[in-house]
């Protein structure tokens, strides 16, 4: 079936560096993508979203890039801080799936002070 997955299960960076978390998806009909951050013992927290008619969207310290040609999504975190340490999930949905959000497996980001 269709799936959303991540290239790397873990990522370790130094405080102050930029982080890039990647995600591949397989459903060509996907039209809405979300990045979630999940800290230990908490539910996923919305970070940023992007619609399929966009290639890039920026938030505070975060940027999401969407490449529909290769079905690839990335999350860039600028000046990574220890508080950014968490598991990051990409998720996608499409009109054909209604509101069923499909999550990838997650990337554990560790920020070293």
């Amino acid at each position: 079936g269709e799936s959303v997955g991540l290239h790397l299960p873990t990522l370790s960076v130094q405080e102050g560096d930029n982080s890039i978390i990647n995600c591949a998806y397989s459903n060509s009909a996907s039209d809405y993508f979300i990045w979630y951050k999940q800290e230990s013992g908490k539910g996923p927290q919305f970070i940023i979203d992007i619609r399929s008619n966009m290639d890039k969207r920026q938030g505070q310290r975060v940027t999401v890039l969407l490449n529909k040609t290769v079905k690839h999504l990335s999350l860039q975190i600028a000046a990574t801080q220890p508080g950014d340490s968490a598991v990051y999930f990409c998720a996608e949905t499409s009109e054909t799936s209604g509101s069923r959000l499909t999550f990838g497996e997650g990337t554990q980001l560790t920020v070293n002070p």
Partner: protein, 115 residues
Amino acid sequence: EAGVVQSPRYKIIEKKQPVAFWCNPISGHNTLYWYRQNLGQGPELLIRYENEEAVDDSQLPKDRFSAERLKGVDSTLKIQPAELGDSAVYLCASSKRTGGQEKLFFGSGTQLSVL
């Protein structure tokens, strides 16, 4: 504004026992979701409600799982009887409406351990 509230936070039971989880969504959010998250994996949808109607329960194991949202606000998810493989975090989420491209807001989840 209060977020999605779930209880209990943790539950430990023996297999074959029943268990129930409760969720209070964000005020004004008509759509409510129950997800299950296994360790190291992303959440998987169990059931989605629009107001009091279950509009997507295709992934709910109906032989042992049941859910209700009688007044279109709070919801409960029940497992009876629980099995070892049901150990997971059960997450509740809500959104203002359905139809795709909606931000879901999650609660902290109930961590279930079945012994």
